[in-house]
Symmetry: C2
Subunit: 569 residues, 2 copies
Amino acid sequence: MDKTVGVLGGGQLGRMLVEAANLLEVKVNFLDAGRSSAKQVSNHDDHIDGSFKDPEAVQKLAAKSDVVTIEIEHVNTEILEQIADQTDVQPHWKTIRTIQDKYLQKELLKSHGVAIAQSLPLDAPTAEDLEKAGKAVGLPLMLKSRKEAYDGKGNFPVRTKDDFAPALEALGGNKNLYAEKWANFRMELAVMVVKTKEQVLSFPTVETIHENSICKLTYAPARGVSDTVNSQAQELARKAVACFDGKGVFGVEMFLLQDGALLINEIAPRPHNSGHYTIEACPVSQYEAHLRAILDLPLHTEDLELREPAIMLNILGGDTPDSHRKFAAEALKHRRTRIHLYGKGQARKGRKMGHITVCAPTMSEAETIIQPMIDYVDQANPQSTRSASAQPKESQPLVAVVMGSDSDLPVLQPGLAILNKFHIPHTVRITSAHRTPTWMASYASAAASQGLKCIIAAAGGAAHLPGMAAAHTPLPVIGVPVKPTIGDGLDSLLSICNMPKGVPVATVSVNNSINAALLAVRMLGMSDPGMRRRYEEYMVESEREVREKDTRLAEMGAERYAEVYLAKK
Amino acid sequence: MDKTVGVLGGGQLGRMLVEAANLLEVKVNFLDAGRSSAKQVSNHDDHIDGSFKDPEAVQKLAAKSDVVTIEIEHVNTEILEQIADQTDVQPHWKTIRTIQDKYLQKELLKSHGVAIAQSLPLDAPTAEDLEKAGKAVGLPLMLKSRKEAYDGKGNFPVRTKDDFAPALEALGGNKNLYAEKWANFRMELAVMVVKTKEQVLSFPTVETIHENSICKLTYAPARGVSDTVNSQAQELARKAVACFDGKGVFGVEMFLLQDGALLINEIAPRPHNSGHYTIEACPVSQYEAHLRAILDLPLHTEDLELREPAIMLNILGGDTPDSHRKFAAEALKHRRTRIHLYGKGQARKGRKMGHITVCAPTMSEAETIIQPMIDYVDQANPQSTRSASAQPKESQPLVAVVMGSDSDLPVLQPGLAILNKFHIPHTVRITSAHRTPTWMASYASAAASQGLKCIIAAAGGAAHLPGMAAAHTPLPVIGVPVKPTIGDGLDSLLSICNMPKGVPVATVSVNNSINAALLAVRMLGMSDPGMRRRYEEYMVESEREVREKDTRLAEMGAERYAEVYLAKK
């Protein structure tokens, strides 16, 4: 903590970095223009005014700093190579140099066996070259600049031969291009990885939604993605970052393909837009993690865990110079909303001016809170080509309702109505313990990693489903005995309830799916105060209803009451 | 958000205030010495170097600012009164003037019917005056300076007549003293209150632990305090703050007396040490809440709710100038630990140099994480008179295990062993549905507000306890049927399970308290990933045990196995 950090660049990433550094009394010197975003929140005389591409200025910064790092990768790595003799440069200048060239970046990853899209280098290509490339990697393909490309700049999608001419017109002047195989992805994921002296750690897997190739939204954790894919994505991201020398955080963007495979899209050797959410959502933010990594300070796996589901929405410049401030004023009207403005002055159309983060006990609560703010952004940009994936998704189900046979469904319907009444996202499935034993086992085993919180299982007769599900999951299982065609259902009840010591099932009475659902609501309310409040309101309402009946009965007398109210039944 | 805020004082409270302001692009001008703590994180030319007691400097600040506020109440309110003609001063200068004089502060509260300790003004008292005061309010009493007192400075406890002379020696030169009735408190609580243009809102009730009259620890929420007391404390705090004019946050410190009554101790008209935890633990911090209040920006009740239990530990200056940085280096070794250093340079003994905050899914987890850091602090200050209440408390129970009769206890013991195995804080009580119906009802009704998360209820025969408990609480209730003297327990099981629609009980099999406890573990694991990991380990371990038995059985043959292993039973 006694070391001074020098940073090339002083934009919003530098600003959030120094906000973390201020907490630790770590001095940070920025090299950037006068009152740039980062310098505004760090008041001392050792910042350097100038361009982070100016060799002399970088030398000056190095002379004042024990560790030099970057908040943008488009730096002069020759100078970094020079100053590395006298100062610690993190991550290694070779890493920055390799990553700067997206084609080399991918070649390096490929040589380490990391899954990436097939790529072909193209040096000032002609239409003919594009035709060849199209044969090699297939059409559509993505024509990309190897260097200085970000936020979609330097990329051109080539869908058919008709796109060759416009593609060459847009990027043809550039010698350093490459063609990348089109990734037919289901969604885009991102993982922030921290490379310390000894370890490679990772933050959770998040879902990113881009609009016009600029990051718009980040959902942490990624919605509708199993813990298995989540872990695979983190492993892939750690494996990719382990290929590079040096310390610090790395932003790893990847594609989840339609077939479930994961592919690295690209890597940033610095804090990243897709990691902003960590400021509120994790015990240690990506910015503090970067500092801890480059300064050899301790960092723990648990520091990078998610405290609560979070959604980040970027604030981009709109049509007026104060559009971002107007949006912020609007956002303040919403609960649980944390605003970050970057101090960049007047807005330019599409420029990143700030972001907001909403954390809540459940993702569906966070989605509900942020939706009006997404709507506000979308209204302000009617001409924007809204990406299909920006549409609200179905919420991550919290409760799985399973049955052995569709004949049990009518018994479960009153319970499903209760789940709907309490706005609990749920999924309803048929997983028979006897006719689909493997499917039943795999479904129950994966339930926890799918983000489910509890299982309601209905079964009649032998009624093995609830107990078998409980044997395969650490989640609480609620068993609903179904009355079979023969007998009163006591057999179902006892079969569900009489589990051996070690594997519990929460049993309710025969056909009572309402109580099963209410039990699930009570369980979710243990950690979600809003849910508990709604349950308490339900209890009051339910008491009121019975008291009204009592009043009516007293007023009408038993005989008339039975005629009017019970005759119907 | 377009208004400029001027702040008298630029210490750590100002620093954390401007950290919040930076996020909203709200410009803050500080009046304080050169590179004071707050100015270090706010880089512009409109700060004013000087004393916040200097009338001219305050005038200058006012001329540059749309709203003037304070981060310390020991300011010159005559000047605030003057500038109030040209600038908005928040909170109102009258409020600051009244609060500055602790005796007047209490008189005002008293006149509004707010519970405070009995107080007597003493103007340059003699031993005789103290004797009279002792008769009026009783001995021991607290002799206090009316003004300029903080962190225990200006307070002198007068326990017996022997303390008169030393008390007068310590404070006697001061004309403005008062005697305060001794508060025999069970614990000290604090609530941060936000007074906006229209509303009086409050953060949660926290527990504060003082050492040598300086705040050492804050526990949010207060441990072992019912939601009822929690709400009462918030109501009292809001009522107290409503007595004062103006907008902003107020720190309200109070005593919870042995008899359960609440008494205001004192009020600070600004952000407060006991509210630092809000930075990590609430959607909006006390600092941002102060800004939103004085700038008439929106604020919502839910913004002030607790996201996770949190503990704050102050970092006080030790014996060496870098003691606080050494402590911070030590604290970094612990997971989930957020460090705040204030940039105050070299430490002075006992000076507030920073603080740490630990948030975790449960209070007992937060306590486990922070304990070594408390131990480190205590080791470094062996001569400190450690307050008895700084000792770790029994953890907030998460599970209540209740039974109708102590004869059910043996059935519950294996379940209690499971709760202990999983380190789940729990409480065991006798609440008979038939012999103590009122007590049973009041216990179950209060359970949620006591911080309990679920109830395990055992009963035999008529076995009404689980269902009756469920009727009184929104928490999940797990019913354990106990085998009665007559019959096999099926009667107990059906009585517990067959609840009417609307009131669920999670029923396990007869005498199976192990499954009841495991069900509670699964429920807690829904929102506590650490608990779920431990449960998964338990499942693996349990599978391993059975597999070992199977191997042994296969090796030994059935006959020999039965002889060796089953004969004992």
